[in-house]
Amino acid sequence: MEEFVDKALDYASKRSKYAEVRFFSSTRNSVMMKNGAISASGYTVDSGMAIRMLNKSIAFSSINIGSWDRIKEEIDRAARMSEHPGRDNFSNETPVKDEWRVSQKQKIEDLPFEERVNRLKELDGILADEKIAMRILALGDNIEEEFNTSSEGMAIRSRLPKVSLFAMMGYMENGSFEQGTVEVGYSGGYEAFDSWKLVDKLKHESNVLKMAAKAKKLEDGTYDLIAGPEISGIVAHESAGHPTESDRILGREMAQAGESFIKKDDRGKRVGSDIVNLVDDPTIEHSFGFYKYDRDGVKARKRYLYKLGIINEFLSNRESAGRLGEKSNAASRSSEWDKEPLVRMSTTFIEPRDHSLEELLEGVKEGIYMKSFTEWNIDDIRFNEKYVGREAYHVKNGEIKEVVRRPVIETTTVNFYSSIDAIGKDIEFSAGTCGKGDPMQGVDVWMGGPHIRVRNLKVR
């Protein structure tokens, strides 16, 4: 089908004021185990052509049936759809011609399929030895190849290999149940596997569940919070990344994931203490959400969403930047080739500062140290949020004490960021899938950051 890209672009360009034709192909391997049984092994080859056209409004069409007549038909249909009155301004950007690829040390394509099964069996065996009776493990890898062209002269080829692993565990003791997850992802090859230290991670998580199942709830009250990287990461993603997505701010997602407590004129307003820098950076090498150019062909760069506690920059694509009268900062992503590009995060985190964990703990008289979470959610303007601890400890006079069970923090974005008084110098990331769009698009992201100290939060 790739052979039709030039012809399709030429045909679409004549029928629109802006046209994009993208050819995409991917191969994916996946293995899943449930409680020791190999439940699913599979292989997927995906390919197709996506066409985006701009006239009086935007039209997006996808086709994987490789005949010119069918492609032409789709372009004609998209041209007609784009003549309906709607929004019609993209930001002006310089078109790029380039080629990029992410390197692999242990190539996905060189790994025999059965090796994936063997690796998963080994990990499943570790959990079984730890008496984790309920377990689902999934290992996946894929290689995405894309050729993105536009009527303005963009021509970008890319090759992006990725590996990811998801483990879900449940532990029951005397009727007391605890559940946990481990999620890791990497742009690159199977060299990721060793760096993830999965054996240690899964053993640790097993112990966490066992301890939590026996632990007691903490008394309701006001506590200082030492949040580990997993907690500071989910907070950064949910309450800094999402609310600064400019398409949300402009209402584009109003009927699905919602809008934002941040309005379009709110840059410069304070939302946190003056030590809080919040970053989204797609250029971190081998990060799960890595890209060199976004789906609009704009070069990726690091973005400061909150700077010194103040709203600084919105994530944007050409569509939303055009509406704001600005340049795009390259946040255009789609989960699959046949989905429209939207404003998305990549790797979102609080920028590290200068404290060690010991120094963060030193200043805490009565607190909790929350390292990971189980249930969480946030409202559709990204202001009221809840985090329930999975691995959590009572902190008394600077010392980590007993494990506490499922401490609940229900707070607001501004209260949380305003209450941060110290930030660690460490940084650690875990993988996630960020959902948005209709139909739902789950894109690969990293979340994480340093340990942080948050004063006087209500905990129950």
Binding site: D46, S61, P85, F113, I136, F177, G251, G258, K386, E410
Partner: protein
């Protein structure tokens, strides 16, 4: 792609094979703040292939028949080196007959998507400040072939979701999905639903914590059961991470609560006559009169549980088709009128579980949270969360309406037919 050709080639190299080929054409209009944002069109074919050989199983997806030349040898090579799938028994090996689907969609097909959206925007404009949403027209053809069975069926349907903000930026939402011309008037009435909700908005306040009787709208209750019924998949139950694990025959709801997986309702988009391995799709009571009645099975999980398949393959993991909550005898107006102190909740999102076994979760109500006192709506709330367990809520169901609505919203709500449902003592929390 040609299912016969794919099946012929796959069957030759396996003990058992199943091919499911779907052809999809979807048109979608997305709009926000009273303006159309984008028109999307999908025109795709997907062949999902399952093969079993010597107790081992392998699956692959194919979007271009030419790729079979490289995928098939690779799959055979892989299947010979991986271990047995001890969960797999067989595809359904009986010759099955399927019911005939009742298609009734000639008028729905004529609904022009852009015009419908434009009319909706114009009609509600005098009553709300701004509106956004999505309109889908979906058409699929599903073909299935196994060594024992084959079938073809079609689906057509429309889905409409609109969220509107009133002059005080208070959000409201409506959703409707149908495959039947009989529902055309209901589809057209969605603007009235938004306007009716807008009229109910009074005295906007931050919500207050506590335990309240709650009347869930069909959209909101559909969301709760959309998280519940998939947990009845025997795969999920087998994994241990399900509120149905170990609860067969146990009471998990009030006597008035019955919920089905019902692929036989052809007025809904996900109605089906057969599943992925050739079993007839059928109506299955998951919770009947408050008691866990049946899990959702494919042929293999049914063998393991010494029961019959419910026609819910997923050959690896059974899954529900579309949900139906049994209606009751009450009238919504009477439910509100007889409420001393409680809430009407129109929608919810971001449902997450801290305990799948007990169904302990929280979710964030939105799009119309009305505080009711002595039978009258007194306030419209925001900023609250339902923090409770599904089992508590279902056990405390006190009233169910006669009226039902067919809804589908985004990833939060499966195709579901639900009444208004009132539950007592629902725990409401909020951020501090």
């Amino acid at each position: 792609m040609d299912i016969e050709e794919i099946f012929r080639r796959v069957e030759r190299v396996s003990d058992q094979a199943a091919v499911n080929l779907s052809r999809t054409r979807v048109t979608q209009i997305r709009f926000s703040n009273n303006v159309i944002d984008i028109s999307n069109e999908w025109n795709e074919e997907l062949a999902s292939v399952f093969l079993a050989k010597n107790g081992r199983t392998f699956m692959f997806d194919l979007k271009n028949e030419k790729d079979l030349d490289k995928i098939l040898p690779r799959s055979i090579s892989a299947i010979e080196k991986i271990g047995e799938n001890t969960d797999f028994v067989s595809l359904n090996d009986k010759k099955n007959n399927y019911r005939k689907k009742r298609m009734n969609d000639a008028k729905l097909r004529e609904v022009e998507a852009q015009q419908f959206v434009t009319d909706f925007i114009n009609d509600v404009k005098p009553f709300v400040k701004r509106t956004g949403g999505v309109f889908y027209k979906k058409e699929t053809e599903e073909q299935m072939k196994t060594p024992f069975n084959e079938g073809t069926e079609r689906q057509f349907g429309v889905e409409f979701v609109a969220r509107a903000f009133n002059d005080h930026d208070y959000p409201l939402q409506t959703s409707f999905a149908t495959s039947s011309d009989d529902d055309l008037q209901d589809l057209m009435r969605q603007k009235d639903e938004i306007m009716d909700l807008a009229r109910k908005v009074k005295s906007i306040k931050e919500g207050r914590e506590g335990r309240y009787n709650v009347i869930f709208s069909p959209l909101c209750f559909a969301s709760l059961v959309s998280y519940t019924v998939p947990m009845a998949s025997a795969f999920q139950v087998d994994s241990g991470m399900s509120m149905f694990a170990g609860r067969m025959g146990e009471k998990v709801g009030s006597r008035s609560f019955t919920v089905y997986d019902d692929p036989t309702d052809d007025s809904m988009f996900n109605s089906r006559t057969f599943d992925d391995e050739g079993s007839p799709a059928r109506k299955t009571p998951v919770i009947e009169k408050g008691v866990v009645k049946s899990l959702l099975h494919n042929f293999s999980t049914a063998s393991k549980y010494h029961t019959e398949t419910t026609g819910n393959a997923g050959i690896i993991s059974p899954a529900p088709w579309q949900i139906s909550v049994e209606p009751g005898n009450e009238d919504l107006d009477d439910m509100i009128a007889s409420m001393k102190k409680g809430l009407f909740i129109n929608n919810t999102w971001y449902t997450r579980f801290q305990d799948y076994r007990e169904g302990v979760f929280s979710t964030i109500p939105r799009d119309g949270i009305f505080y009711i006192e002595n039978g009258e709506i007194k306030e419209s709330w925001s900023g609250i969360r339902i923090s409770d367990s599904l089992i508590n809520i279902y056990k405390n169901i006190e009233g169910i309406s006669r009226e039902t609505k067919k809804v589908k919203w985004w990833d939060e709500t499966m195709h579901t037919r639900s009444p208004f449902v009132e539950a007592a003592e629902v725990n409401i929390s909020r951020s501090k």
